[in-house]
């Protein structure tokens, strides 16, 4: 089953390039020859119904889940190379870290794991917390934070090191409307001022339509459509397009 194609030249222009990615959980096929290309410095959203394979794909990028066939590269570097992960930050749907850690300690820990010199920690932790708007809560324990604040700590942990690609899995899940608004603003800021490429798995089509540049729709592990938000017809919403694609696939 392990037929990973290695050594195929990938284009470094793309933040993510996936070719023929297959993944089985037992007899269930989670990814069925998925092909996907994500351009650098864009906000890209991967849409699909529950069980479509969105989270599995995201985890294969990080090597948390082993793909059985196909190839994924990050900025032209195969995900088989551990160095490729140095460019990627991952925020799970429910970011969890040791509740007795403070915000500052958590960010400092991720800096250390990314090889940031200890003497630079204090300054860079402050900078990172400022970007995510958490500098005033730096000394608070994670156990005392709201879901939205915890998500921001998660994002802060992505901004350490030299990460160019941020993978966010259902980042709006569990946030209140204000939390969603703040988080959307943060995502746009990360793209425009920090030059990051942001890949988002989401169910909230209306929000993604407002902030994303490009999108792809997957179902049953297969990519059904990939396009830019601008390519939607006048008067057509992302939700209309998504519904027609998914229903057409039934």
């Amino acid at each position: 089953m392990n037929e990973v194609a290695q050594g195929v030249a990938m284009d470094p222009e793309y933040a993510i390039e996936a070719r023929g990615v297959n993944k089985f959980y037992g007899v269930t096929q989670a990814l069925a020859g998925l092909d996907l290309r994500v351009k650098g410095n864009t906000i890209f959203t991967l849409l699909g119904p529950n069980g479509a394979g969105k989270t599995t794909f995201l985890k294969t990028i990080l090597g948390l889940v082993k793909l059985q066939k196909g190839e994924i590269s990050i900025f032209g570097k195969s995900t088989h190379e551990i160095e490729s992960r140095g460019q990627v930050g991952y925020l799970p749907e429910r970011f969890y870290f040791y509740p007795y850690y403070t915000v500052r300690d958590s960010v400092a820990f991720f800096m250390a794991l990314n090889g940031v010199s200890k003497k630079d920690h204090a300054e860079r932790v402050d900078q990172t917390l400022q970007i995510v708007g958490m500098q005033e809560l730096a000394k608070r324990r994670l156990s005392t934070l709201s879901k939205g604040q915890l998500q921001r700590v998660g994002v802060a942990s992505l901004l350490v090191g030299e990460k160019k690609l941020l993978l966010l899995d259902e980042p709006f899940s569990g946030l209140d409307p204000l939390g969603i608004k703040d988080f959307k603003d943060l995502i746009i800021k990360l793209k425009t001022t920090e030059g990051k490429t942001i890949f988002i798995n989401s169910h909230i089509l209306s929000e993604m339509e407002r902030i994303a540049d490009d999108f792809a729709i997957i179902d049953k592990g297969r990519c059904l459509a990939q396009n830019s938000i601008k390519s939607l017809l006048p008067g057509e919403t992302l939700e209309d397009f998504f519904t027609s694609i998914i229903r057409g696939n039934k």
Partner: protein, 270 residues
């Protein structure tokens, strides 16, 4: 391999235990146990001596060492099971492993961190016991020989933690705890039964129990031998054994256990 990354993981292992309630709870039990053991031993010594049976007074440190070693084996199992399993259960493992790390780095630092915690408990227990003994009867019961046994105790802790972490990879914590206790007991019994005999003698009269014993004695680190070694040192004896060969066996079997643990963890989907 970046040493600063390894060090961060190692410190994180210790911090996550120090800041958790489990360690405080265990520490309090530990201190309580020392007081109970001290009073219990005094009671037994007085009772036995009043009947003019044997003089146990000089054996206080040995008895205490024996009990604290058993306690530390329990702790090794608890922290061995928890060091990786808790991260897997909480989802922290996937957040950490999304960083540019090799999985065996993580496993190694979790094992070494847990060993440091247990060994720290051991040292603290010795220190507190020394103070209690000194205050209660004015004698210096803990001598340098106890510190000579530290190395052997460290080997035992490291092996038990690695073994327990391995067992916990595919079982829930309670089952893993019980199974680890059983495996450690089997290894200890097998080491006592087979440690003084040569290989050809040990493979005579093969049966199911014997096969189990042979596997425990030859394929797993000999925690029973090293525990006995530490105990003998406390009693001022140097046991007759081939130290070079035993150390080589320990090193090889521990490396094999660690490799197996790392392999299973690297194949695991997070």
């Amino acid at each position: 391999m970046q040493t600063s990354v390894l060090f961060a993981l190692y410190i994180n292992t210790i911090q996550k235990e120090i800041r958790s309630k489990t360690l405080i709870f265990v520490l309090m039990i530990n201190l309580g146990l020392i007081f109970v053991v001290n009073s219990g031993i005094d009671l037994i010594i007085k009772s036995v001596e009043s009947q003019n049976m044997i003089n146990l007074h000089g054996q206080k440190a040995s008895i205490f060492y024996f009990l604290i070693s058993i306690w530390c084996t329990f702790l090794s199992i608890i922290f061995g099971i928890d060091c990786i399993k808790s991260d897997l259960e909480s989802g922290v493992a996937s957040v950490i492993m999304a960083q540019p790390l090799r999985r065996w780095w993580y496993v190694l630092m979790r094992i070494l961190g847990a060993t440091t915690i247990v060994f720290g408990h051991y040292l603290l227990s010795l220190f507190v016991a020394w103070i209690i003994f000194y205050i209660s009867d004015g004698t210096n019961q803990l001598n340098m020989q106890i510190f000579g046994a530290l190395f052997a105790t460290l080997l035992v802790n490291l092996a038990v933690i690695t073994l327990s972490a391995l067992i916990a990879m595919s079982l829930n914590k309670m089952v893993a705890f019980i199974l680890s206790l059983i495996v450690c007991s089997i290894v200890g019994i097998a080491n006592q039964a087979m440690g003084t005999e040569d290989f050809l003698y040990n493979i005579q009269h093969i049966g199911l129990a014997k096969i189990l014993g042979l596997v425990a004695h030859y394929l797993l680190p000999r925690i029973g031998i090293w525990s006995s070694f530490a105990g003998s040192l406390i009693n001022g004896k140097m046991p007759a054994m081939n130290y070079g060969l035993e150390l080589l066996h320990y090193g090889l079997t521990l490396a094999a256990l660690f490799w197996l643990l790392s392999f299973i963890f690297s194949r695991r989907e997070l």
